[in-house]
Amino acid sequence: MSDVVEKTLTALPSLLSLDSHPGSAKLSSTSKLGNLIRGITELTSKHEEEKLIQHELLAIKEQVSSPNTTMRQMKELMVRSIYCEMLGYEASFSYIHAIKLAQQGTVLEKRVGYLAVSLFLNESHELLLLLVNTVLKDLQSTNLIEVCMALTVVSQMFPKDMIPAILPLVEEKLNHPKEIIRRKAVLALYKFYLIAPNQVQHIHNKFRKALCDKDPGVMTASLHIYLQMIQENPEAYKDLTPSFVTILKQVVGGKLPMDFNYHTVPAPWLQIQLLRILSLLGKNDQSTSEVMYEVLDESLQRAEMNHNITYAILYECVKCIYTIHPKSDLLEKAAKCIGNFVLSPKINLKYLGLKALTYVVQQDPKLALQHQMTIIECLDHPDLIIKRETLELLFRITNGQNVTVIVEKMLEFLCISEDDHTTIDLVGKVAELAEKYAPDNEWFIETMNTVFSLGGDMMQPDIPNSFLKLLSEGFDSVEEDRKLRLFAVNSYIPLLRGEPGKLPQRFLQVISWVLGEYSHLREDLEPAEVLSLLAKLLDMKNSSSETKSWVLMAMTKLCKGGADASVTQEVSETYSSSLDTVLRQRAHELQYLSQDPELRARVLPRGAKPETLEVDSSLSFLDRFVSEALAAGAAPYKPPHQRQEELDQSKALSLEPYGLSLPISMSSCSITDRQSPTLLSMSSGLSGDSADLSHKGGSSALKLDGIKRVWGREGYLAQREPVEEAAQVEVPSPIQSPGRQGEGDSLHSQTPTQTPTPEPEQEKQQLASSLFVGLASQSSVSLMGKSEPMPQRFRRKAKGQGLGSSFIANEQISSSLISPPSAVDNLLCNNLLDSNNASELAEQTSQLSQSLTTANGTCHAEAELTESDTKGCNPALRRDNCVVAAGPGPHNDPGRLTEVCLDSYLPAELSGLSHSEIAPLCANQSLNLSACHVQKEDSLILVVFIMNSSESAIQQMLLQVDSEELEVSCLCDSPAGEVTSHSVAVGQYSLTVTRPAVHVEVVGTVSYQLPAGTSQSLQFSYKVPLTSFIRPFVVSTEEYGTMWLSFSHDTKQNLTLINDNQEPLTATLNALKKKLQLHVVEVIGMEGIVACRLLQDLPCLMHCRVNAGWLAVWLRSPVPDLPDCLIYHCQRALQSL
């Protein structure tokens, strides 16, 4: 047979060379792939395969680097490289050629090139930078397939820093007539959003457009973005709830084209996506939830067909119903649904049923009760996954009464589980339950012993820590404490006498600590015996040095001299020359303390309660040290984030221009809160003066509370509330009192297997009633227990939460930093925001951006102002402008005319300076108000012209000017009093910015009296762009450097470069300099530094770097908002070129 194949294969090329090219190369390479694949399948050993592939790779390598290889051959070579990589052999030499193929090949070869790139590289690979240009080119291609390919690769991977380079092109594709392009563009933006959310903030309104796309595919794609955004900030998208509900209604109602059906179910993927979004929106929000009740109900009803896909929808529905604000009849239906899942013979559905139960059981513990027999069956399921999920469910319904049974089941599972992840997780859960619900000392200690033996050294380090804390801190009753400790000691001694070599290190550490502290409680136990048992541990080969140091510490606590001396002497001698410094120290401690009982009693007092340590968290005791060090010339302390920034600064080419260094320091903070057992042991005994340690001590006080309370409720302090307890325990465990089993069963009336049952059934029922005890009658109690923030769990997760919250904080920081420029972009794009979007933005962004958003409507007017303003700077140009402007345009004629005549009223001292166009402000029958601003070197003067256009004089005229963002001071000759007919009064005000905004506004009122005696007033407002307040700021590069570090407010943005003939950086900087009056401090290679100041004396520094066709600009200033405003003006300035 193989001969036949062989012949056919060799014959193939000639048979099939229908191709116009006699391309033998191509065909032979094809059959090479065939040969390779076939060759591999025929091999018998891994070694042979390795040889074959290495040979193949060599051949490929030779060919790809040969200059004679055509792109077509390259395509085949790439396919073979992909194959080799898939088999696990590295073919990294071909990566660069894959990029080349994507760059240079024809459409078809390109496709393979892109595919190879997407399979070979991941988004952090440096070679990916080389793909940027290819992608850029293909995005601009007229060939749709090329555009599609580019978008496909972009949505899979793209270097984060290069996003700005292609973002405009991708955005453009959102308006493409072809839906496939729009869809891919949306997904590309989704990818961008995931890797660099701040870069796509300004196109949120485009996402809205995509959501409203007429093509369901595009709309579905946009939901990915929405799901992500809503997950991060549900509040901002509440207004979209009705839209999502409507879409879901239409989908469920079958309004979509048949194409989107999957096994007759309309667009299930879309439905599930929408349900997930709705559950996020409706969580903890009654009014939003109410909007979706109806459609959820409909979804539940529609999904009736018996197919996986309907179950998928149902599952999502149920999850949604239990997540949002509850509605009783929906909950009922959802519960029924869960029932169907749980009872289903299909194992996948059963699994999901259990998962759903686990999810809802905290809200509705009775639901677990209904399915108790199924749960029991699942507990013995041959599939470990099902078993595991059942345990998870049981974990959630554990209470003081069923804890022993549930923990037993969990430990059983632990014995057979081989997966480390499961072990770690379950061990943690058992420890948690044991601490919370332990019925007595013996059980607790025994369970913890099993936990330590099974969990080994994989378990979370805080399990032994909290266990030891529990022992050392004790509870309310001294006697109970003594018993617990004694029991622990009693249980450990036989373990050590047995085979301690088999115990995990962590357990040995716990044992040595407990014996060191509490072995004296057992009177019949000679310290010498404990010492020799401990010494045995030191001799074991597999004891880690950490364990040894615990053991030595325990020995130090135990030794009393006398008979013990020989053991301790020997041990301390052995280890006082150890290479491990910690061990050596411990050995010395042991040596000295064992010889000096008095000192030992002082250092390690027996039975001492852990004291709450006063923590001087400000470390004030170090103040003297610090001031001495400073006096001696030490550098002052810098917080980590500042150091980080300086570091970034020193290597100016930071490849992460938009990242904040903050989160690193914050997260590292919370990580240090982790407690290691060594620290614990030290704080309990030896020293407490290190700040770090005492900090731990402080946190322990918090923890203690939690433990006490939990134990008090169900464990040790049961006698405290005996009456209450008795009343609640209506269904005690039937194992203990079989006489009451009937009663228990009658409560669980829904169980199907209730009638006279054979032996195993009865067993199951017994198990059931012991498992579910405390759920039925006592559900309120267990509910309470669950809804309480569980102290143990809370503490254990605190690290994660700490991280989470710091992350959120950071998110907030970054969003507040980044949103202003995004609003600016909105303006720039000149997109008319719909009202929704405006309000959404307003919520998100700072006050600055609010003012921007509202200013949006008057964008054009401002543009004019800016223009005239800049022209004002250049007198020659202004003349031209006046001439031109005075000619056409009848609508602004009156204004121009006034200007012409008002020009002469400009105060003499200002007339030589450049001023903006004199703009009419407002007018009524008697007054005409106009204004302009004059730029002086270190001030800005607002000149208001009040022209009396009536025939009579007006009296008692009063001009008041004020502003929110500015400090307005009236210059001496402010007009007041009388203005005669057809004359002009002029007011001058000096303006200083107090709060930077893109445009600052002056509002004013003129009040006056007509001769008739009636008083009138006229209000006006006048806007000045911030640029009018900007002056060049002359500094040296060194001064710039020091200032840069000291400024705290910054913003970053990419600007377009001017590409004319000369050097783009210089051209762009010159344009900015001309338009905005900036001072270019220095240009070094591809970087430039620029400085300016805002009147009077508020500096703003600008660092520009050319990066992939963009000008990456980083602004810093001591004034908040100033960088954001300035970047806006830079953008405008460059746009208007």
């Binding site: 898939m86 991941n122 496909t152 299930p268 896909i309």
Partner: protein, 169 residues
């Protein structure tokens, strides 16, 4: 979705698509362990796995295992249907697809996957649209294809199981 793997009953990787950036070493390790874990499972067992900190959804079609790793909040059942839809697409494209088709035309299988799932999310769920997109690109395909198909259709010794249609059992 974090990644998708296709492997044979013998544990040979047939297709791999990673939607999360991982080092090659990690990828290899995950693949090796996961293939082992999945192959060790019995036919009647649950298609979902909690493996390490991942959720795995897998399904066997003839001699091929399709295996996806999903995030915690993702829906397992719909992932199962994603796999099924992918097989449907392959089946429609290759015409009664078998493992051999995928072995010899793995780049095609990748192209189809890229049209169906993009960046780990279902991109286009309409079967017609996915195939239309593929066919448009394929219109440019030369008759090299034809040759591949002929070759792929042939039963090679040791490959008997791979050549049985995925939908057959």
């Amino acid at each position: 979705m974090q990644f998708m793997l296709l492997f044979s009953r013998q544990g040979k990787l047939r297709l791999q698509k990673w939607y999360v950036p991982l080092s090659d070493k990690e990828k290899k390790k995950i693949t090796r362990e996961l293939v082992q874990t999945v192959l060790a499972r019995k036919p009647k067992m649950c298609s979902f796995l909690e493996w390490r900190d991942l959720k795995i959804v897998y399904k066997r079609y003839a001699s091929l295992y399709f295996c996806c790793a999903i995030e915690d909040q993702d829906n397992e059942l719909i992932t199962l249907e994603i796999i099924h839809r992918y097989v449907e697409l392959l089946d429609k494209y290759f015409g009664s697809v078998c493992e051999l088709d995928i072995i010899f035309n793995f780049e095609k299988a990748y192209f189809i996957l890229d049209e169906f799932l993009l960046g780990g999310e279902a991109q286009e769920t309409s079967k017609k649209n996915v195939l239309k997109a593929i066919e448009q690109a394929d219109l440019l395909q030369e008759n090299i294809d034809f040759q591949m198909r002929l070759f792929a259709g042939m039963v090679v010794p040791n490959m008997a199981s791979e050549s049985s249609g995925l939908f057959q059992n």
